[in-house]
C-alpha cells in the first residue's frame, strides 16, 4: 500500500496548480450536481479531475486548488485524498498497473502477473520504471474475480492474464499502442471460455407454463 500515504515533504514540489479551462468546465458541471452550499460533495470528482490534469497524481497545490474552488478547509480535502486509493499522492509512471493480488486472483496466478510486470518495468512495486512508463502496485480486490487474474491499467481492466499475455500487453503499451481492454483470452466479457455452454439452442414447442 505504499502508494496511498505519502508525506507531502517527500514528493516533488509543484509550485502552483489551476484547472485548465476544459477541466474547470467539467468541475463546474460536477459542482452543479449538488445544491448551493453543498458544493463540498463534489470533492471526489474534482480531485479526480485534478489528478487527471496533473498527470496521474495529486500535488499539494492541486489539493489546495480544489479546496479553494469548493470553499473547504484544505485539511478536509487532504483527508479525502489520503483516504481513497484512487488518489495517488506521489508521481507515478504513465501507466499505473494495479495488480489484484486478493485470494481469487492469487489462486489463479497473480504472482505470475506481478513477475511479468517486474520484468517488463524493471522495478519493483511502487517505483517508476526508468522509461517513466510503468508503476506497479498491488491492490486488493477490484471486483472482477470471475476473470481472475486481472489488473487495472489506468482506467481499464485487463483480465484473464497470465505471464505471457501480461508481457505482450505491456510491450504493446511500450510501443505506444493501446491494447483492447477486457479478457485477454478467447472470451466475451465474463461468459464461458470458448463460447456459450448453456442456452445454446432455442427450445421448440409451447412454453413450459402453457404445456
Amino acid at each position: 500500500m505504499s502508494m496511498i500515504t505519502a508525506d507531502p515533504q517527500d514528493v516533488p514540489h509543484v509550485q502552483s496548480f489551476t484547472f485548465a479551462p476544459e477541466y474547470l468546465e467539467k468541475a463546474k458541471e460536477q459542482i452543479a450536481h449538488y445544491p448551493p452550499g453543498r458544493q463540498a460533495s463534489a470533492v471526489i470528482a474534482c480531485l479526480d479531475l485534478a489528478q487527471r490534469q496533473a498527470g496521474g497524481w495529486l500535488p499539494r497545490a492541486a489539493m489546495d486548488h480544489v479546496a479553494q474552488l469548493l470553499d473547504m478547509a484544505p485539511i478536509r480535502v487532504y483527508e479525502v485524498a489520503t483516504f481513497y486509493t484512487m488518489f495517488q499522492l506521489k508521481p507515478r509512471g504513465k501507466y499505473l498497473l494495479q495488480v489484484c493480488t486478493t485470494t481469487p486472483c492469487w489462486l489463479r496466478g497473480s504472482d505470475a502477473v506481478m513477475k511479468a510486470c517486474r520484468s517488463v518495468s524493471g522495478v519493483g512495486p511502487g517505483e517508476i520504471s526508468a522509461d517513466g512508463l510503468f508503476t506497479t502496485v498491488e491492490v486488493e480486490c477490484l471486483g472482477a474475480c470471475v476473470n481472475a487474474p486481472m489488473m487495472q491499467i489506468n482506467d481499464d481492466f485487463y483480465e484473464d492474464l497470465d505471464e505471457d499475455s501480461t508481457h505482450r500487453l505491456l510491450e504493446a503499451f511500450k510501443r505506444g499502442e493501446t491494447p483492447k481492454p477486457g479478457p485477454q483470452v478467447d472470451r466475451q466479457t465474463s461468459a464461458p471460455v470458448g463460447g456459450p455452454t448453456t442456452l445454446t439452442s432455442i427450445p421448440g414447442g409451447a412454453a413450459p407454463r402453457d404445456r
Binding site: 500500500m1 500515504t5 507531502p8 478547509a73 485539511i75 478536509r76 483527508e79 489520503t82 483516504f83
Partner: protein, 681 residues
C-alpha cells in the same frame, strides 16, 4: 418526554438526548473516549456499547437517540464482553509505556482499561508506529498512543474554529495530523491536551515535570484577560506547575486560552523578591523599613494634589481598595485605574459592564463588534461567539480593523467612528438588521474607547444601543469588553480621576505631580511621568519597576487570595495557591504597613476586615459568583470624533502583561506564530 428503563430503573428523560446521557441521568456510568458533551458526536471509539432490548447487536449509546419504551441494560455479560473486546482492540496498537507517559494517573484509557478491560491481550504482532507531529510549542505529541477518538480534530474545527487538524489515511494508516507540517494557529490549542483521553497530546511546557498525585489543587480565577476564566492551579511546593480550566457554564464553559494556561512560567522569572530604593541613580536592595522610610521622607509635606496613584491591570480588589483608602488619607490624592486612557465612565455601572453576560451571547441574534478583536482580547469569549454562529441564525458585523480571522464570518461595515455615526443615523443597511433584532448585542472594545474622542464614541454607542432597543428591562445588549482583569473592580471602587491617565501625564511633565504610586501598573508610559518620584508596588521587574525610585515587592495572582470582577461584572474569589517569593508580601498588607509608616494607619488588619471594607465601598463585592446587573443612565459625552480607525489594544496576543512578558513559553509561541503571519501577508 420518553419513558425508558435503564438497568431496571424507570426514568423519564428529555426527548432528543442520547442513550448515554440518559444513562448518566439514571446514575449509570458509561465508559467513553470519543464522546464529549461540548463536541459533535463521532461514535467511533465504540467504548459506550450497551445492550438494548430487542436490538440484535449492542448499540453505541452516544449516538443513539432515546425513544419511548426503550429498555437499556449496561450490566449484562454481553455488555461486559463487548467492552472487553473494544478495549482489547484499542490496546492492540497502544504502547504499554504508561510509566514514561505524562498522562499516567489521569488517563482515561488507563482508568477504563482497569475498570472495563480484559487483563491480557491476544495480539502478538508488532504494534504500528506513527511519526510524531509538531503542533507547536504548547502541545507535545506521541502519536503512537493515539486511539483516533478525533476529539482534537473536532475541537479545532468546531470550538477553536481553525480547521487545521484532520485524520488522514485509513485503517491502520490513519493518523491525526495537519498533513502539511504546520503548527496549530489557535489561541486555545492547549485545550486539546485536556480533551485527549490518552497520552497522545500532552502539555509540552509541563512535560515530565510532575505526576498528578503530587500536585496540590487550588481553585482560582484567571487574570490574563478580563473574562475571569475559572481555573485550577496545580502546585508542587511553592512552584506553580500548571493551570487547568474549571467548569463554569456562565463564563468559560470548560475552555481556557493558551496565555491563561501557559504564561505561568513567567511567574518564576524577573520576580521582585525584596524592596529596592534608588540611591545615587541606582536601585539598591533595601529592607522594608528602609523602603518605607524613603517613601515617608519623600511624601512629607507633599500635598495630596501633587500625589497620584495608578492601579494596574491584574490587581485584586483588596489591594485596590487599600490603595484608594491610603490615597484618601493622603489629603485626597487621585487614583486612576484606566491605565490605557479608555474613556470608561464609572458613574453608571451599566456603562462599563458586558451587560448581557457572557452566556448572553448564546441568546443574541445580531452582534456588532465595535473596535474589538475578541480573538486576541478574550479567546474564550470569541469561541462563545463562534458557538453562537454555529448554532445559526445570527448576523455578526464589525466596525474597526482586525489583523486576524475571527473564526466566523463577519460583515465589515467600516473602520472608524464615522461608520458608527452612519449606523446610528440609520444610513447603513445594517441599522435595519440591528433594529429588527430581538436581542441585539453591541460589543464595545477598548480599541473604540482608549482614544481622545473616546467619550464621544461611548455616547454614540449608547445612543445606538438605545435606538435599536438593545437596552430593555429583559435584555441589555450594551456590552463593554475589557482587556484588563482588574478594570471592572477598579471602576466599581471608583478609581477614576479627573483628566484620567492623561491628566497624570500632564501633571508629571509639568511638575504638578511630584509622587506617582504605581500599583502593579506596567502599561503606563513611564517616560511621561517627568521628574516625579515613582513608587512601584508589584511582582515583576517590568516597565514600572525600571522607572521606580522605590520598589515594594508584591504578590502575583497565584500568590494571594483575592476578589476579581470580570468584564460582565461577576465577582469571583481566587484562592491562594502559594506564597510570594522572598520578602514579597500580599499587596493589601503592604499598603496597610505603609499607611502605618506614614502615620495614617488604615482601619483594617485582616483580610476579612479588608473584604468588609470592600463591601462597604460597593455592595456588589458581597455577591460572590453573581453577575450583579448594572444600572443604566446617561453616560458618555457628545462631541467631535476623529476619523482614525479603531485599533484593538492588543497587537501581540502572547505578551500583554508582566507575567506573559516574562514567560519563555509565550516567547516561543510568538516566534512560532510569526513565520505564519508573514506567510499570510
Amino acid at each position: 418526554m420518553p419513558k425508558m428503563k435503564i438497568d431496571g430503573i424507570d426514568i423519564e428523560v428529555p426527548a432528543g438526548i442520547s442513550v448515554l446521557q440518559a444513562c448518566e441521568m439514571a446514575g449509570v456510568e458509561i465508559p467513553r473516549f470519543c464522546y464529549h458533551e461540548r463536541l459533535s458526536i463521532a461514535g467511533n471509539c465504540r467504548m459506550c456499547l450497551v445492550e438494548q432490548e430487542k436490538a440484535p447487536k449492542p448499540i453505541a449509546s452516544c449516538a443513539m437517540p432515546v425513544m419511548d419504551g426503550m429498555v437499556i441494560k449496561t450490566n449484562t455479560p454481553a455488555v461486559k464482553k463487548a467492552r472487553n473486546g473494544v478495549m482489547e482492540f484499542l490496546l492492540v496498537n497502544h504502547p504499554l509505556d504508561c510509566p514514561i507517559c505524562d498522562q499516567g494517573g489521569e488517563c482515561d484509557l488507563q482508568d477504563q482499561a482497569m475498570a472495563y478491560g480484559y487483563d491480557r491481550s491476544r495480539f502478538h504482532e508488532n504494534k504500528r508506529a506513527v511519526p510524531d507531529k509538531d503542533l507547536g510549542p504548547l502541545v507535545k505529541t506521541s502519536m503512537n498512543r493515539c486511539i483516533q477518538c478525533t476529539r482534537c480534530v473536532r475541537f479545532a474545527t468546531e470550538v477553536a474554529g481553525v480547521e487545521e487538524l484532520g485524520a488522514t489515511g485509513r485503517g491502520e494508516q490513519m493518523e491525526i495530523t495537519t498533513y502539511v507540517h504546520k503548527t496549530l494557529s489557535s489561541e486555545m490549542s492547549g485545550n486539546i491536551v485536556d480533551l485527549c483521553p490518552v497520552g497522545a497530546l500532552t502539555s509540552k511546557p509541563y512535560a515530565f515535570n510532575a505526576r498528578p498525585w503530587e500536585l496540590r489543587k487550588t481553585e482560582s480565577v484567571d487574570v490574563m484577560d478580563a473574562l475571569g476564566s475559572n481555573i485550577r492551579i496545580d502546585t508542587r511546593g511553592a512552584e506553580v506547575m500548571r493551570v487547568l480550566p474549571r467548569v463554569n457554564e456562565d463564563v468559560n464553559e470548560e475552555w481556557i486560552a493558551d496565555k491563561t494556561r501557559h504564561a505561568i512560567d513567567g511567574l518564576k522569572r524577573q520576580r521582585l523578591d525584596r524592596p529596592y530604593v534608588r540611591r545615587d541613580g541606582k536601585l539598591k536592595p533595601a529592607s522594608w523599613g528602609e523602603a518605607f522610610e524613603a517613601i515617608a521622607a519623600r511624601l512629607k509635606d507633599v500635598p495630596g494634589t501633587k500625589i497620584a496613584a495608578v492601579a494596574g491591570d491584574q490587581c485584586d480588589a483588596e489591594a485596590m481598595v487599600a490603595l484608594k483608602d491610603l490615597m484618601a488619607a493622603l489629603d485626597g490624592a487621585r487614583v486612576e485605574c484606566r491605565q490605557d486612557g479608555a474613556a470608561l465612565d464609572a458613574s453608571v455601572r451599566g456603562a462599563y459592564l458586558f451587560n448581557a453576560g457572557i452566556a448572553g451571547i448564546d441568546k443574541a441574534d445580531v452582534i456588532l463588534l465595535l473596535g474589538t478583536n475578541p480573538r486576541w482580547e478574550a479567546p474564550v469569549l470569541n469561541a462563545r461567539i463562534r458557538k453562537r454562529y454555529l448554532a445559526g441564525k445570527v448576523k455578526i458585523a464589525l466596525i474597526g480593523d482586525t489583523p486576524v480571522d475571527l473564526t466566523y464570518p463577519v460583515e465589515h461595515l467600516g473602520h472608524g467612528p464615522s461608520t458608527l455615526r452612519d449606523l446610528a443615523d440609520g444610513k447603513l443597511a445594517f441599522a435595519d438588521v440591528l433594529k429588527g433584532a430581538k436581542n441585539p448585542m453591541i460589543i464595545i472594545g477598548q480599541g473604540a474607547l482608549r482614544r481622545s474622542d473616546g467619550p464621544a464614541v461611548l455616547a454614540q454607542a449608547r445612543a445606538l444601543a438605545e435606538t435599536v432597543n438593545a437596552v430593555r428591562a429583559d435584555w441589555n445588549g450594551f456590552c463593554v469588553l475589557h482587556t484588563a482583569a482588574a478594570r471592572v473592580a477598579g471602576l466599581d471602587l471608583g478609581l477614576v480621576a479627573d483628566g484620567g491617565i492623561d491628566g497624570i501625564y500632564a501633571g508629571g511633565e509639568k511638575g504638578d505631580i511630584e509622587v506617582v504610586y504605581l500599583l502593579a501598573a506596567d502599561e503606563v508610559d513611564t517616560k511621561r511621568l517627568g521628574k516625579a518620584f515613582v513608587i512601584y508596588q508589584g511582582h515583576h521587574g517590568d516597565v514600572g519597576a525600571h522607572r521606580a525610585d522605590v520598589i515594594l515587592p508584591g504578590a502575583a495572582y497565584t500568590e494571594k487570595p483575592g476578589v476579581y470582577v470580570n468584564t460582565e461584572g461577576r465577582v469571583q474569589l481566587a484562592k491562594r495557591a502559594g506564597f510570594p517569593p522572598g520578602d514579597a508580601r500580599e499587596d493589601w498588607a503592604i499598603l496597610r504597613a505603609l499607611s502605618a509608616a506614614l502615620g495614617k494607619a488604615l482601619p483594617y488588619d485582616t483580610l476579612d476586615q479588608v473584604r468588609q471594607r470592600l463591601v462597604k465601598a460597593n455592595p456588589v463585592f458581597g455577591a460572590i459568583d453573581q453577575q450583579a446587573p448594572g444600572a443604566w443612565g446617561a453616560f458618555g459625552r457628545s462631541g467631535d470624533v476623529a476619523e482614525a480607525a479603531f485599533v484593538s489594544p492588543i497587537g501581540n496576543y502572547f505578551m500583554t502583561c508582566p507575567i506573559s512578558r516574562a514567560s519563555q513559553t509565550m516567547a516561543e509561541c510568538m516566534a512560532n506564530r510569526q513565520p505564519q503571519a508573514v506567510a499570510a501577508e
